[in-house]
Each structure stands twice: as structure tokens, then as C-alpha cells.
């Protein structure tokens, strides 16, 4: 899936002059949220967000369909007097498709979020990630650019950030989930691993192929390579800390491909850190 700057369908549950209150308000709004829509419920004297260019559907129990003016987007108005909450959700879903609003639910939104109050732009995360999630903007500031390349449930890059500046809001524990970073956390979060030492594809490969055969072949071929053994230790440490789920290790690309991507990421990070000139 390629993520684009796409807009969710805005569903306005209109309960005001000309529209009776919804008998199944909670069930209806819950059903709409479960399908991924953004809902605005009108009422009282509290303001709601203004109209914008988002595709919008107004739902109400209208005696007479109202006129809405001053809007720039594609608007639809639908009377839901005779519909139950499940039927309303179906109507909304077909309107979403018709208006070309964003689709939902095909991807678990798992991706790093940078806390720029902490980030020092050191590029460790960019060097570390093999999947091209990170990049830099025009001012060479680190950015999350390809969120959907991120490996679901893997928060490994947050472990390599020396500032504990990388959050995964859906992670189970703090500070990675966005909880306050304490000094103790900061010490713990620093894995103090040499990033370049982690980027050997053979280590990933070994972790991926955990069979005895693979292990013995690996040790025969590589035992003499001290640097590689060091990489292996570092990566095993990361994996064992419970932060790299086995599924992620199993889905890693080939060692050659990893080596290529690691070099690419390192080059990008080096370029970003070079003085502007």
C-alpha cells in the first residue's frame, strides 16, 4: 500500500434545527469509527472544526433535506430516518467509495514518530533502518518518509536513538509509546551498540535461518571473522530484548540485499551530515 496525503471521509451527524435526534447515536458513531471514518457530531453551543476540502457526508433525520452553503468539497446529504446503525455504516461506506475518500483498515498504522524536541539530527536511525523508512527533508532534517515500509510491531530503531526521540504510539511500554522520558529511561534506551557493526547481512540471515544446519554452516564459514561475531552478538542482544519480533526476523531480505540497503542508508545519512556547501 502506498500512503498518500489522502483525506478521510468526514461524516457529520447533524442533530439540529430540521433534524431529529438519532435514537442509536452511540451505536451509529461507533460503527462509523470502526470503519475508519472521521465523525463530527453537532449540538449545543460548542464549536466544531470548520468545513474544508474534505469529502463530506451529512447524515440526519430530516423532515426536509437542508441546503448547506459555502463549502468547497464534494458534499452529500443523506436522510437516515429509516436506517439502523449497520445500514447507516453501509451507506457511508458506499459514499466513501463514490467520493474517493481514503480507504481504511488494510494496514496496521505502525511507524516511528519523531519527537523533535529531543532529536539531535544525528542520523543514527536513518543509518540503522534497512527499509528506507527514514529520509531527510530539504533542510536535511531527519524525517519519517515511508511509514508503510516499517515492519509491524518492530520498534528496533527506537532502541538505537541515543536521545529516546523515536516513539511508536501503539507500543506497549514507555517511553517508546510516548510516555515521559526519564533519565533512567535514557540510560536504558541507549543500547550503546555500534550501528555499523549491526549492518552485516549475515547476522540477520543467521537469525532468520535458525535451523541447526544453517547455524553450523554459519559457524564454519564465519567463526574466524571477529567483527562479524561482534555484529551477531549485538543483533542477538536486540532480538533477545524482545524488541524484534520473530516474524520480522523471518521476513528480512537476503543477506546480499541487506548489505546493499545498509550501504544505501549509510550513504544517505553521510550525505545528510555533510556540511552544506
Amino acid at each position: 500500500m502506498a500512503l498518500r496525503d489522502s483525506s478521510a471521509l468526514r461524516v457529520i451527524v447533524y442533530e439540529g434545527p430540521g433534524s431529529d435526534p438519532l435514537p442509536e447515536r452511540l451505536a451509529t458513531i461507533t460503527a462509523l469509527l470502526e470503519r475508519g471514518h472521521a465523525v463530527t457530531r453537532t449540538g449545543g453551543d460548542r464549536p466544531v472544526a470548520p468545513a474544508d476540502a474534505a469529502p463530506t457526508l451529512v447524515l440526519g433525520r430530516f423532515a426536509q433535506a437542508p441546503e448547506f452553503s459555502g463549502t468547497t468539497a464534494e458534499w452529500r446529504v443523506r436522510d437516515i430516518t429509516t436506517l439502523n446503525s449497520a445500514q447507516i455504516a453501509d451507506v457511508v461506506e458506499s459514499t466513501r467509495a463514490e467520493l474517493g475518500a481514503a480507504r481504511h483498515g488494510e494496514w496496521k498504522p505502525w511507524f516511528p514518530v519523531i519527537d523533535y524536541d529531543r532529536c539531535t539530527n544525528c542520523m543514527q536511525c536513518l543509518s540503522f533502518c534497512l527499509f528506507g523508512v527514514y529520509g531527510v527533508d530539504g533542510e536535511r532534517q531527519i524525517q519519517v518518509q515511508n511509514q508503510d515500509n516499517c515492519k509491524t510491531n518492530c520498534p528496533a530503531c527506537s532502541r538505537v536513538c541515543p536521545e529516546a526521540a523515536i516513539m511508536f504510539p501503539k507500543y506497549k511500554a514507555g517511553p517508546i509509546n510516548g510516555d515521559i522520558v526519564s533519565d533512567a529511561d535514557l540510560q536504558k534506551e541507549k543500547m550503546k551498540v555500534d550501528i555499523s557493526a549491526l549492518l552485516g547481512g549475515d547476522v540477520y540471515s543467521m537469525l532468520r535461518l535458525r535451523s541447526d544446519k544453517a547455524r553450523s554452516r554459519f559457524s564454519k564459514e564465519r567463526d574466524s571473522d571477529k567483527a562479524l561475531t561482534e555484529r551477531q552478538k549485538c543483533l542477538v542482544k536486540l532480538a533477545e530484548s524482545g524488541d524484534i519480533p520473530p516474524e520480522v526476523l523471518m521476513s528480512l531480505p537476503s543477506p546480499e540485499e541487506i548489505a546493499r540497503r545498509a550501504e544505501e542508508a549509510a550513504a544517505k545519512a553521510r550525505a545528510a551530515l555533510e556540511p552544506l556547501g
Binding site: D5, R10, A38, V39, R46, D52, P109, P169, N177
Partner: protein, 131 residues
């Protein structure tokens, strides 16, 4: 850090694509919002919207005071920033449904004052830490 902000907008996040917010907390908060008779915005999953850089986040972040029932303020701030829709730290209160009880979340949502609590650079990482 409390200031008077009459009628801040209310935004509720359903955290649809993960189980990190206790189900009973989000269900109770949404139920009370629905029963309250007041206007509010609800989104399925702020994370998913931030990942898509949904322009709706600009609509939700802009135009005045807002109280957001979601998760950790630092995460919510980062998500909006990622979508190029920065929250105003002076007029945003984030209520963390991962750590607060539903009653506590609703008490703050419906309170007339706004206790701004989005972290800023100074509060996250003081440049001159106290000796």
C-alpha cells in the same frame, strides 16, 4: 498551567487499529460524549491519519482551543506534527485514555477550563537543567 478557554472543541480518538487503549475506557468516554448533547469530533485512529498525512488533521488542530482524548500527549503532539498540522501548546489539552479512568477523562473534557499540557522543548529537555 491553567487558562480559561470557553468551549474548547472536543476530539476523541477511537484507537481503532490497536488494543493499547483499554476498551472499557474508550467505550465509556464515547458513550458519555454521545449522551452529553454537546458537539464533538471523533476519529477512528489518529495514528492512521498521521501516517496518511490526512489534511483533516489540519482542520482538527487549527482554530482555537481543543481537548483531545487519545493517549500520551508527547505521542499525540508528534503525530500531528508528522502530518504538518502542529497543535498549539498553549491551547491544547491531551487526555490520556491509556492511563486515566473514563471518569477522569470526561471530567476534564467537560470542564470549562483548559489545562494545556502538550510538551514543549523546554519541558521535555531543559537546556539549562536546574542544579
Amino acid at each position: 498551567m491553567s487558562e480559561t478557554a470557553p468551549h474548547p472543541r472536543l476530539l476523541y480518538c477511537h484507537c481503532q487499529y490497536a488494543q493499547v487503549v483499554p476498551k472499557e475506557v474508550k467505550a465509556a468516554v464515547l458513550e458519555q460524549l454521545c449522551q452529553s448533547g454537546t458537539a464533538f469530533e471523533a476519529v477512528a485512529d489518529l495514528c492512521e491519519m498521521a501516517a496518511r498525512r490526512d489534511p483533516a488533521l489540519k482542520r482538527l488542530a487549527g482554530t482555537g482551543a481543543v481537548k483531545i482524548a487519545a493517549c500520551f500527549p508527547r505521542a499525540v503532539k508528534g503525530l500531528f506534527h508528522q502530518a504538518d498540522a502542529d497543535l498549539d501548546p498553549q491551547s491544547t489539552e491531551v487526555l490520556n485514555m491509556r492511563t486515566l479512568a473514563a471518569g477522569e477523562v470526561c471530567a476534564r473534557l467537560f470542564a470549562t477550563d483548559l489545562a494545556a499540557n502538550v510538551p514543549t522543548k523546554a519541558s521535555t529537555k531543559p537546556e539549562n537543567p536546574a542544579p
